[in-house]
Symmetry: C2
């Protein structure tokens, strides 16, 4: 059942004992939204705990400083920024996948697996939705809550550069900044800082960038061997996925990342009318119009070929 912001606020106000679930490969939006919601609920005396199928990386540490999450038997399972149960990860999907009572999300691909779904597909981030819910609940947006939400807003919009950015995104960013969000340090950490290992990986990946379809498509491939050579690993690949699309004239940019057990995870970023979720969808993946992903269980050559076949269909359709 779809519910709106007010109904979601009422549900949270009238209940207690929330287990908040983030999606695996956690990003700034799922972690920031969950941390902000947890802090808001705790501030009005609720019991809350956050779990995730993957470990949170250290850049999110600040969100949990001084946050006391109680040990209790969860009464209500709430998923945040999780479009489909599979994204809870194997263990938590098996445990909670069919027991999610409330899902707060912004993915148009959300399959409505939860009993109650607060879904705003026009929202650039789940953090925007959580902000509206907290406001509806009359919960004070403290500086740390504002920082958690700003992290979600900024990371899911590539610092206001992606096509999902709306007037409301800017308005909420302004309100969060006014509420004390530490936007400068957050922007520095997420957008203006590269580890030396990431910088080396980026260089290697860009050296191997290949162009297709009259340079309208650019593909970079990250292999396991590159991790060995640079000391980097898959946790550092997220930023790489945006780079091919930056090249002038490129409408479809792809990062193919070799998986531990073989096969490739493909992150697809598009410009204009090219729908990335169509490209990923034909390969059993999904996502948004401008950003989508899929996994191809094949060797590099075959995976590239399958991916290019799907991209060709979208590029051809764009020309009609």
């Amino acid at each position: 059942m779809r519910i709106d912001i007010r109904q979601t606020a009422d549900f949270l106000l009238n209940n207690d004992g929330f287990l908040l679930l983030c999606h695996v490969s956690p990003d700034g939006d799922t972690v920031g939204s969950a941390a902000a919601l947890a802090r808001g609920l705790i501030s009005i005396g609720k019991k809350v705990r956050i779990i995730c199928g993957d470990k949170f990386t250290k850049e999110y540490d600040f969100m949990f400083e001084g946050l006391e999450m109680s040990d209790f038997e969860p009464e209500h399972i709430v998923a945040v920024d999780v479009a489909v149960p599979k994204l809870l990860g194997e263990e938590y999907c098996a445990l909670y996948g069919d027991r999610v009572e409330l899902c707060i999300d912004h993915h148009s691909t959300n399959d409505l697996y939860a009993r109650k779904v607060c879904l705003e597909p026009d929202s650039a981030s789940a953090a925007e939705v959580v902000y509206l819910i907290l406001r509806q609940m009359n919960i004070k947006i403290t500086p740390i809550i504002a920082s958690c939400l700003y992290t979600g807003v900024s990371t899911d919009t590539g610092c206001f550069r992606f096509s999902n950015t709306t007037v409301r995104t800017f308005q909420i960013a302004a309100e969060l900044a006014a509420a004390g969000a530490d936007y400068y340090n957050i922007n520095q950490a997420f957008f203006e800082t590269k580890t030396k290992t990431y910088a080396a990986l980026e260089r290697l990946a860009l050296e191997g960038m290949k162009f297709f379809f009259d340079d309208r498509c650019a593909v970079i491939t990250v292999t396991r061997r590159m991790y060995e050579k640079t000391g980097s690993d898959e946790t550092e690949t997220a930023k790489l996925s945006n780079l091919p699309r930056q090249i002038e004239g490129v409408k479809v940019g792809v990062m193919m990342r070799e998986l531990k057990d073989g096969g490739f995870k493909c992150s697809i970023r598009t410009h204009g009318d090219i729908d990335a979720s169509n490209i990923a969808g034909r390969l059993s993946g999904g996502g948004h119009a401008g950003a989508a992903a899929c996994t191809i269980n094949a060797d590099k050559e075959q995976a590239t070929s399958m991916l290019l076949d799907s991209i060709r269909i979208e590029l051809d359709a764009d020309e009609i």
Copy 2:
């Protein structure tokens, strides 16, 4: 004489025949501010013309579409985003340098050369100041005016990432977006697009990045040979200068760019308490605390050595 927003609005409302001057090496802020001001003044029937000592590059073309600037004998000279008369360029500095009646600016280094100075040093961009003036004049912020101003706001803050970004910057960005600023395409053009020649140059430059002083300093060097190899040229080097500082742990990032007639232009970017203008100052250059530049007439080895000597002094001072 310093004047405030209201006095500036009154001056513009009560006069006519404005010649707007931009600074040389025009950037998004000087051009966007001047174009927005011109459009606003023309919309209430004033005669306005914009001039600049350098040609505007093609990314600013959209600001002038359909803008009819009349031919008239200027009555009032207005400089926008011009901190000192020298920045008008040789010709216009000689012609107008001592005749500027109004200067609208945000540089704390403004030397108050104009008869009336509307200076807001806490403003991240001149565009923010122009926005406030237009609002004070009750001039309608049309979508194209909003786009011109948004270009100034976003380019002067590195898309909200630089330390000059304030709560008001976000608020004004939200208001400009609501007024119809084409923020998506502006962000794409200025922040998310690399020419293939630039991308190749960036790759080459990063390959040669060198670290000094326990990796607290990173230096990239762009040689004439690299332009030949990549088809790029010096107009594409501006973005490169920010890259060395992005590496985690780097406090001083430098781009050394080989000049046509020998020697090196050094762009210095710093973090934290390291003052870039001190580093440049010892080599007869100057700038702001976080960004400065100098020219060294020496071969690569000697220039690097001179630069590192100056950097060492700042890094040593930082450790005390």
